[in-house]
Amino acid sequence: MTDATPAPQTAAPPKPASAAREIWQQFRTHKGALFGLIVLSCLILFVLVGPLLWDPPQRLSDTIRMKNQGPSLKAPFGTDQLGRDMLLRMMQAGRVSLAVGLVAMTIAIVFGTLIGTLAGYFRRLDGPLMRLTDMFLALPLIPLLLVMVMLFRDRIASLIGPELGAFTLIVFAIGITSWMATARIVRGEVLTLKEREYVLAARSIGSRPNRIIRRHILPNVVSPVMVAATLGVAEAIITESVLSFLGLGFPPDFPTWGRLLYDGLQYMQVYPERVVWPGVAISLTVLSVNYIGDGLRDALDPRIRGR
């Protein structure tokens, strides 16, 4: 698990081994970050290993008699309107939601940071890239998604199979529609950073832009990017549920946290636990990503690290 967490670091500069260890040392001392890492690992274990250990009856003809039950020993999370075990559904749903949330967030962050840095640093690119960003911000989301499905779903499905195809399309669709805020924020930061003394100094000794960006600019935009990443996970998980309402998501018998939350909504008064489970799961994921981001930011900040 530990090697999966610095995923957002892909945008950060490659550091010598000692620096990586130093960052990890600093990261470890951050209580919140450690907590986040543990919670996220537990969630991932829960959804990956859980279904192997927990095997309730799944044939609806068996379960339909036990529909709408509250939490009990037999069904710790209760059952839904068709008698399906909510614990198992939460696990199955988590696989999709966590994967979609983390991957889509990474795509959006990497893409947004890239566009934002290029636009902020190179004045020549600023105009075209920011106008592109404006355009993506202005496009109405739902028709865009519907067009994407219509054009690409069958083609992708025939290339890599329906399930992987759906996953790729969802992740891509969410990524392509949520990088703009990051790009704008990063650009704003880069605009100020590139006028800072140390950047001017680096430029005056003839450092190439490539190096300046990697060594001096990127480490300093980590902080807003981390916030964007935290927001991004939550948004991606929720957006996925919106997509399935447009028929763009996974086939309807694939539960996801967002969909469980939405489905549970109309039963909220009668069976409140139905919305509590997915709600808590999404919140926990977001919370842990947030703390990991916090720790990562502190760990990457040389001033704090030195303390």
Partner: protein, 335 residues
């Protein structure tokens, strides 16, 4: 700065034209038809006739240029006629919604006040809550207040508004009975009583949206403050013996506002765009509800006009953000 602004404004015209064409093609290409909400009992031949009556069977570029003409010529002429009693727009066809056959700008005019009042208030409330929370959380990082603020923010943006809105309805309308669940758009504020009524019916949508907005903005504020807290100039300011108040509110805050300004500026067009889910849930007849309704009904003139106005606002507010950057950090130069 002035030349920069002018250049950007001029550049905005071709940009917006391209955006309008892309939106038009996109909405046109999207599957769905203006007939999708017509019951199945209406036979195909009648449907075809209805589509012809809408002009929806014309080639896409014919319709695009018609829309351009209507948007940039007929509608302004109509407004001028309305103000000065001229008759420039006489006999010209205004942009009509396919779904309701009403002029699109009349609908926007009906809906804009609600959007501005409800969504605008929610946005303002969100900012007013978020900034202090963000500032204080950063100042006392990892304090109890900060942890509480973090939890609040995380819950705020990990629960979607369709969930928090329904929850508020059940708690405050069904159980406690304090607020109505449906926004009465025919209410006129004329006296104290109707004002109170207006406040009560705004409470739930404003709470729902304010929570979501506050959560997002407070996170950006906090993280940006944290970045600046450790900068050298802060240490210098403190060393010079300035009070904490001045150090934090003047030096750190001003320098921390850049990402926050971006987020806020990005969010302002979305006030106009409305909060689709919240408006729908509470029956606030704002622009967002109109847009989503039009999208579902494939009401192309309506979607196109709203999306285009939205695009104009986005371009405009991004320009404003850029100008604000220059004020907040004089080192940023564009020319």
């Amino acid at each position: 700065m002035l030349t920069f602004t002018l250049r950007r404004l001029l550049l905005a015209i071709p940009t917006l034209l391209v955006i309008s064409l892309v939106i038009f093609l996109l909405v046109d290409l999207a599957p769905g038809s203006p007939m999708s909400e017509i019951p199945l009992t209406v036979p195909p031949e009648t449907r075809q006739k209805m589509i012809e009556a809408l002009g929806a069977d014309q080639p896409v570029f014919v319709r695009y240029f018609l829309w351009l003409r209507q948007f940039f010529w007929v509608e302004p002429a109509y407004v001028i006629d309305h103000w000065f009693g001229t008759s420039w727009a006489e006999g010209e066809q205004r942009i009509l919604s396919w779904q309701s056959r009403s002029p699109v700008f009349t609908i926007i005019g009906q809906r804009l006040p609600q959007t501005m009042i409800v969504i605008g208030t929610a946005y303002l409330v969100g900012i007013l809550i978020a900034l202090p929370i963000g500032i204080y959380s950063a100042y006392r990082q990892y304090s109890l207040f900060d942890q509480g603020g973090t939890l609040f923010a995380m819950i705020g943006f990990s629960v979607p508004t369709f969930f928090s809105g329904t929850l508020f309805i059940i708690i405050f309308a069904v159980w406690l009975g304090w607020f109505p669940t449906k926004y009465d758009t025919t209410l006129n504020v004329t006296d104290w009583d109707s004002f109170l009524k207006q406040i009560r019916q705004m409470a739930l949508p404003v709470m729902t949206l304010g929570l979501a907005n506050a959560a997002t903005i407070s996170r950006y504020m906090r993280s940006s403050m944290l970045d600046n807290m450790t900068q050298d100039y802060v240490r210098t300011a403190r060393a010079k013996g300035m009070t904490e108040r001045i150090v934090v509110l003047k030096h750190v805050l001003r320098n921390s506002l850049i990402p926050v300004v971006t987020v806020i500026a990005l969010g302002i067009p979305s006030i106009f765009g409305g909060a689709i889910i919240t408006e729908n849930l509470f029956g606030v007849n704002g622009i967002g509800a109109a847009l989503i309704g039009a999208i579902h009904a494939s009401d192309l003139p309506m979607v196109q006009t709203l999306a285009f106005i939205f695009a104009v606002l986005i371009v405009l507010f991004n320009l404003i953000a850029d100008i604000l950057y220059g004020f907040l950090d004089p080192r940023i130069r564009y020319d």
